[in-house]
Symmetry: C2
Subunit: 394 residues, 2 copies
Amino acid sequence: MKPLSPNEAEDRIFSLRGKVPSVNCALEAAAGKILRQDITADHDLPPFDRVMMDGLAVRLSGSRRFLVQGVAAAGMPQIVLPSAEDAAVEVMTGAVLPDGADAVLPCEWYDFHDGVAVLQPGKAAKAGEFIHRQGSDHRAGDALLRSGIRLGPVEIGIAAACGCAEIQVAAPLRIAVLGTGDELVSVGEVPKAGQIRRSNTHALAAALQLAGHGPTATGCLRDDPEDLRQGLAAVLSENDLVVLTGGVSKGRWDLVPEILVSLGAVSILHGIAQRPGKPMGVWQMPGGQVVFGLPGNPVSALVCLHRYVLPALSHWSSESSPMRPRRILRGEFTKPTGLTLFLPIREMPDGTVAPAPVANSGDFSGLAGSDGFVEVDESFAEGAAAPYFPWFAK
Amino acid sequence: MKPLSPNEAEDRIFSLRGKVPSVNCALEAAAGKILRQDITADHDLPPFDRVMMDGLAVRLSGSRRFLVQGVAAAGMPQIVLPSAEDAAVEVMTGAVLPDGADAVLPCEWYDFHDGVAVLQPGKAAKAGEFIHRQGSDHRAGDALLRSGIRLGPVEIGIAAACGCAEIQVAAPLRIAVLGTGDELVSVGEVPKAGQIRRSNTHALAAALQLAGHGPTATGCLRDDPEDLRQGLAAVLSENDLVVLTGGVSKGRWDLVPEILVSLGAVSILHGIAQRPGKPMGVWQMPGGQVVFGLPGNPVSALVCLHRYVLPALSHWSSESSPMRPRRILRGEFTKPTGLTLFLPIREMPDGTVAPAPVANSGDFSGLAGSDGFVEVDESFAEGAAAPYFPWFAK
């Protein structure tokens, strides 16, 4: 059977489960989350004819000399401009334009003494100038934000202006990241002969956290059928998503697939036409939980997390068609025949990217100094922009 | 006096204070922070001759038929390959290469029955193949990570492999974000005539948080000299950095500058040759605290935060020369003479950016759908890449 292409694998993964539910979230805690409601203007924007400069509100009468007869500060209800042709009200940026005024004169335009303002030569009031008219940006009821966007500072500001002290966002999934392997010891230990420290779970949990998912449970399971079975069952009972690294190939030492099947898992895919990460597998449990079996190789595991797990989390959160960034790739590299290549790259000052290949990949040190990877498939042509997956958003 | 250029303003701001101290941080909490120590390999990488495939470890003897006489699993100390020419040890990915072995044969290369493995035609053992040699990536003592980098998943993985259960990172600064203005009411309130809801503080706090700084205290001060004075004094006593929006221009309604001076502040700059954000000011208090006075206009405030406050925080954290991203700008726009333009843009699928100008800017709604802004100064030439400031990293 021909192994799946990355896009075929992605389609199969995306369809594995429905959208996560929505939850209420305080606006202060919503940055970075996916909005799950529309946000509409609850009043006109601006809500009133708004003064845009400190100065004088006047009538268009041809007068160049004004008697200042009041003050309109920001936050005050609207006042009335007295009816005399040369009446003026001193106004502050953000104030309501006094009723009857046609224009605002900025304070740099006139000389002011003893309650009388005289326009400087060459300056003149123009109808509507320095007035931000009520509703000129948006009318009450206009949709300002659509469900599905990721909430950045702009969107948080809009939600605040619309009175959303709480908003509906995508609920977090409960995620566990597990290493497997008898050679793994914890970070605090000194490895004995044949052992290495666990690093995959730390790196993957960091990537999930930096992408806005977390905290994640992390742990490690031994290469022992009974340990694996019990450990997996316990973790599956408490999580929606389990990310495993190691033990997922089809070799005689790879115990994970058969144990998952013994726990009732359905194999969704096993093997993708890609380098690195070819042995990756995905299973679904009877309770709906999704298990990503990533290779134990650190580079492969991190690449597969960014190529499949993070996009799936966006998709299941109903993030509206996030545009996958692309970068123009400049420099030499070797593409394996028949496999999609995930090529580690470095960002260049001009916005292009250059290959930063790793010789071996027994650990993460070969990726130091790289910024992420690009996806190079059969359709890639020199000079084209390739899909770009940064290790994290900086 | 000619107002400062953005780069001159930045230089002046950066030199305002020394580096923040370093603090110890658990590795699990370090993602996104700035590393403040070098991290060196505490052992060779790999720490031993590491088997890269499940298969057989053999001697180079010309033999094509092997007697399998043992198993080397991952995590086991090194074993010895028996001395017979046709001796083999079954090995697992990640295991220590048995002493005396010259090569690894992947399990797909041979047929195995009753303890005897026979190489398939066309396959042959090659010296060193599928062996990741001890120290071939790095030697014990090699510096793997340098102080000053931002810790992403790769760096967290490297730190884990080197046994850093805790690492030194840049200490957070205590930051407060304050709105000023009598027209401002809280998000939960329904604005009365002449009032609007506070949105700047929410947007700025979200931007700080999404850039890895936070939590920040937020609040609002009235346009009243005594309120402002008491409020500012209280906030300054508890924070290293205060970001104000509104009340910072040089007009008669702008009370902040003179109150800061009455509290002992030194004016560092007031006015920058830029649009938007021209009235921006920076002050330093006798206790060393830095006060950024951003304009009250929401777009100006957000632009100035990204152009000055976030880069200053990186600089003071000793982040090693973060490369400022640049983007090729395509599309029409008008550049004001003599002022640097901060132009809101939208990211295009091909990696370039297009102008997304806002008509008015009394609120954040005009920025909906924009991804950030580029800096267009006198030196900008069409087709060139301009410095890019995303609203947040996605």
